[in-house]
Subunit: 400 residues, 4 copies
């Protein structure tokens, strides 16, 4: 047992930490300003483009992708880097081309795509020339139960025809999101987990309607493509647009989840570290009732409790990554579920405390706390509410 990162990881951590401090954090205000200046625009903003160029030059690009197209890191190696990107959730992942849902989509294409699919979609995505969205969640069915999906993908000659309504398609408000990966049922009569397939739908296909943007708390997440409700009204694409085999949609979605949870959880831990760092600055410089906030017992307790939570949960995520690397996603199921449940809620709590330290400023746009809170809160519902996973985890425990 050894708790030290290997050399390559340590080197990347150092370089990314520097890039974060020198380039990304200072760019946050610039991005906010650029969004305010063009409030009705959903495109990627110039500052993000500029940072992407720098990241590419410094070899901090596509770090998430394990295979040859990417940096070739294991989950365990990438995890601490994902954590660092969480320090600046609205800039860093985009600057490094490591943001959801593009990461998961690129993984899907890299694993299951045909050569032509890779050429057409993976290459421009790896190069950040286009963006993508993952259209899975539907308004009328619980997202925790993928087998309930109502969207239909019907074969019609050499084509597939897609009909359905999706929402929470993250990134899809950005007109650059030219690729929509749509999950739907190709065969409602097949066994429960063999009914679903995934298909590649160009954003400009006939019958695709971007209905509206959704907000999370009051945020529209305009700086990274928002979250769209989309209607697919008899959208016709060639049969070659099917991603993987027919009936493999559920299994592919599951495969996509594992690394995604590592990324989400590590970024969430990065948010928590950022919050703690902000609290340190605030509490040591601001006074109430004649002494620094840092001297108040309750504030000390909060940072101590936060530190303990972060240290324990980070280890659990790292171990999960290690399990995925060594014995595979299936064997790591208990741990993958555990981090999905435990990390976002702990981070939500840490952010809640941090807001309390900042007072009303913590609720406003003057700190990143409230927006990070919204992000952490949303994670507790991503891929189904925590409680579904908690129940499954409990059930598994009785089968030990």
């Amino acid at each position: 047992m050894d708790f030290a990162h290997d050399e390559r990881t340590t080197d990347l951590i150092d370089r990314l930490r520097t890039f974060l401090d020198q380039e990304i954090i200072p760019a946050e205000h610039v991005l906010a300003e650029q969004v305010r200046a063009t409030p009705n625009d959903w495109h990627t903003r110039p500052i993000v483009r500029a940072l992407q160029q720098k990241a590419r030059e410094q070899g901090l690009w596509n770090l998430f992708l394990p295979g040859e197209g990417g940096a070739g890191l294991t989950n365990l190696q990438y995890a601490p880097l994902a954590e660092l990107t969480g320090w600046s959730m609205h800039v860093a992942p985009y600057a490094l081309n490591c943001n959801a849902p593009d990461t998961g989509n690129m993984e899907l294409l890299a694993h299951f795509g045909t050569a032509e699919q890779k050429r057409q979609w993976l290459e421009p995505l790896l190069d950040a020339r286009i963006r993508s969205s993952f259209c899975m969640t539907e308004p009328d069915v619980g997202s925790s139960d993928a087998t309930q999906i109502a969207t239909r993908i019907r074969r019609d000659g050499d084509d597939f025809v897609i009909s359905g309504r999706k929402w929470w398609s993250t990134g899809a408000m950005n007109p650059e999101a030219q690729l929509l990966i749509v999950m739907g049922k190709t065969d409602p009569d097949a066994p429960r987990h063999r009914q679903q397939s995934m298909i590649l739908v160009p954003r400009d296909a006939e019958g695709v309607t971007i209905v509206r943007p959704l907000t999370v708390f009051g945020y529209d997440d305009r700086d990274h493509g928002g979250h769209a409700e989309i209607v697919f009204d008899d959208v016709r694409v060639p049969a070659t647009n099917l991603l993987g085999g027919e009936g493999e949609g559920f299994a592919m979605a599951q495969a996509r989840l594992g690394p995604g949870r590592i990324h989400h959880c590590m970024r969430a831990i990065g948010m928590a570290e950022r919050a703690l760092s902000l609290v340190r600055d605030r509490a040591t410089t601001r006074e109430t009732f004649g002494r620094p906030i840092a001297d108040q017992g309750v504030v000390r307790e909060w940072v101590a409790e936060s530190r303990i939570q972060i240290e324990a949960l980070r280890l659990l995520v790292l171990k999960t990554a290690w399990l995925m690397d060594t014995v595979g996603n299936r064997e790591a199921m208990t741990e993958i579920q555990s981090i999905k449940i435990a990390v976002p809620r702990a981070v939500q709590q840490i952010l809640d405390r941090a807001i309390q330290v900042f007072g009303a400023a913590g609720l406003s746009e003057d700190t990143p706390l409230a927006e990070m809170f919204a992000g952490a809160r949303a994670l507790r519902l991503a891929d189904g509410p925590d409680e579904v996973h908690l129940s499954a985890l409990g059930k598994a425990e009785f089968r030990r």
Copy 2:
């Protein structure tokens, strides 16, 4: 000891309940639509005006005001009515002219205003012809410690001259908010709690600059006047604009707090009841994994825990109101602090669970949950963070 409401209160509860169900709840979507239609406008929207007319006609107007100008209810009588307005936080309080901060401002004018001040400001406020804001919190000092206020109110001949920066001036983005009640120091050398005074500043006075709106979890609360940052740059008003005596600002602010907390807490409880009602509807009609959400153990526990919290805390608020009515605010200090701490956090938790039941819809504008969450969360910081009150309460306990 008797836990039944008196006859007049029971009658008002019934009538308000009906008005809520028939007029107010259905108006929520109309208001949202009117705000979307004129996104850059901060004025009171037409639907609110229409509801105000109806409320006036039905005698559901100015219910909050104990004295003759209002409905003449005690705190204990008004409390359950305030709870009902909490069911529709963005419509009901405004429709009934019972919204903060106008309520507290009207109370101040009714208690401490001169006849001329009442004529000029209280009458149009009671008639909802104008709105008002309370300018107390400052960006550079902790709002929990009123003695730190930096804004200066200097006597200059027959005038006072005000200089300072305020923020979280709720309602002040609405151009109809013609009255700003500003707290500042008239004598920094006086004893600690005698340095502050309040002064009436017309919105259009020279030197008043509305700097920007602030957001709470991404919401700008545009439908009820938002929250403004305001600079007072040598703003000159006649000495007769002083509200109450010089040096009485701190005491007046304290007096304003008691009823305000009853209102805030009861409205928060109303939000919790609304959330529970929404959860009931959702859980009994939506299925996952083949059975209604209402059959899931965890959802039952949540509503049960919520019910217990609501029942216990409502009684505590009602007892606090009764104490204020019978022995006065000072004797009710422990209870006033207790509800300030206990109610908003419980309601935040109840709303958090409700969001979890609704899934991603709960985070979006498709339910009022996320916006109510932001409101409850903000209450934990209003008049200083809970922790300041918790510490004071603990200290008092050792002096018993």
Copy 3:
């Protein structure tokens, strides 16, 4: 709505408070000493006998009993008196003849007993000449589900014959507990809630075996009759020993529960107040790191949180008592379940914090804290675990 106690209650509170301070609290050490001196004895100790005589003389006797045989108080009037007895759980209830399970047993006899049953059992119980136990819980079935009871009560001519195994028969280790009220099935084929009956079994009946005392944490509760496991092996009693009608056992047990929960909860609140009082003494006199414990932020928070919990929950219990008095137990079901769940766990938490303030002394026999903790912890399992009630409460909420 009125939160003041009536005159008679206020007078009794004052008198009981005095009796508690002057007679009961000082007697605690005497009782502990008398138990240590005769470690193998389960009888009522002399100090308790002496206090009973004084309580009788002062009219502080049988306060719990609503009807004519007792003090004639309502549930609402008795509740604050029960709270006071909770300050000294191992002395006060016994000194006042207001201890479980004798109270519930006396209520059963008063409501459902024949004249002869009252003469034989109720009179000596009201006079504390004998003690009693309630034999309901069984080792092999969940006590939350009374319909599962396995003990049989079979008619045989003019007799009933009882067979079964009971445990947690509180008080039954005391040889003075001459009456055992046994719950069993007279007709396993009747409808689910009509199968059970209650029967009066003299302790010395043939076939009754007191198997062993049980401990709660490490306490055997020897000072008040402990908790026994009892085997009934074809125990024969005359048919006239049936209490109430055949098949009415379940309904009678339910009726017994309502007041019992008020008593349990109020006593638990009394334990919490005692703990807070001890914490105040300790924290203001003991120093660590150069200042009184009372100055530590965390200790202030604990007492503040405890104060808030106590105030809110006490009101909920009082309202429940008022509902029982005015609309009956059935209409108060939600509240009765609520206090059953909410009070013991809050008190457990308050006691846990108090122990933490006392350090290791809090775990030992040098304070009453650990023993009170065991008592509060056990309440969370009395009449079935909280979770059963929580689930029922949640279910009811969906039927509102």
Copy 4:
């Protein structure tokens, strides 16, 4: 980074697991029976002696001791073995000669003892021929603040004379505890952390009075020597009995703490695993309301939450052990404090839930749950209450 145990550790885990299942768990009832049979005896019982012999033969002896006298394991290697001993807290640590406080005392003697001290005390301790106690905590001062210790160790010619009162001297009720290691002040005028020294006091020295046994939640822990209050009344020992140098007591106590916390925390995790294992058995075999407890949502949640807590905290303890092994106790201070705070309270919570699953049986001697609960609860006070460590941890966080 690598989360797999090395080969030697894996082998020891397997062997100890087998020994636990085959020898130790079955011996628990035997020990309880032997204690019941001789209720006034404090000696080590025969079954423990027998197990010690077997453990010695199987090489499962003195595993805790890193140096040559012991098994030579690192903290990281020993940690999972300590966890296994926690499954049977009242048998396993004693059977393996790995129980506190003897382990810490042996470490002290091994590190700081003279050759003669080792010969006289360490050898028989390593051989379990005698037992020992560590006399540090005092009734009149907070144990969290070692600098307040009042016991005096005065030089008098070739002797030291010890005066003071100690309590919570674990193991000291056992007459075999021939060695008492006493912490006291040799120089009250020295700098704050140089005033204390440790000295070896034979149990039978004149002036040593074992005053009384103390209980923890009613348990006297008779099966492993209990917890004694001891008076040292001018106890005279030769100067050669000083352990380490004068004024080094504080530093030695600190050094003793690090490994002690790893042991305590890992054993506590073992208790939690045992509890989960018992819950699994119970919940899958017992029914209420017609279905196994394991099917209840709340029970599933509990085991899931417990699993998550255990997995995360175990990793944190293991990392702490690794830090102690690689960079030393001082560099691991944050982690050592973190586990001290986080592990016992989590385990207390897990045990509390387990008790709830078992119902009243969980409170009694019929399961080990209540007794384990008392043990976990006590850990939250060992070496000072958690809150002292939490505050120190928070303070350190502000210095990062």
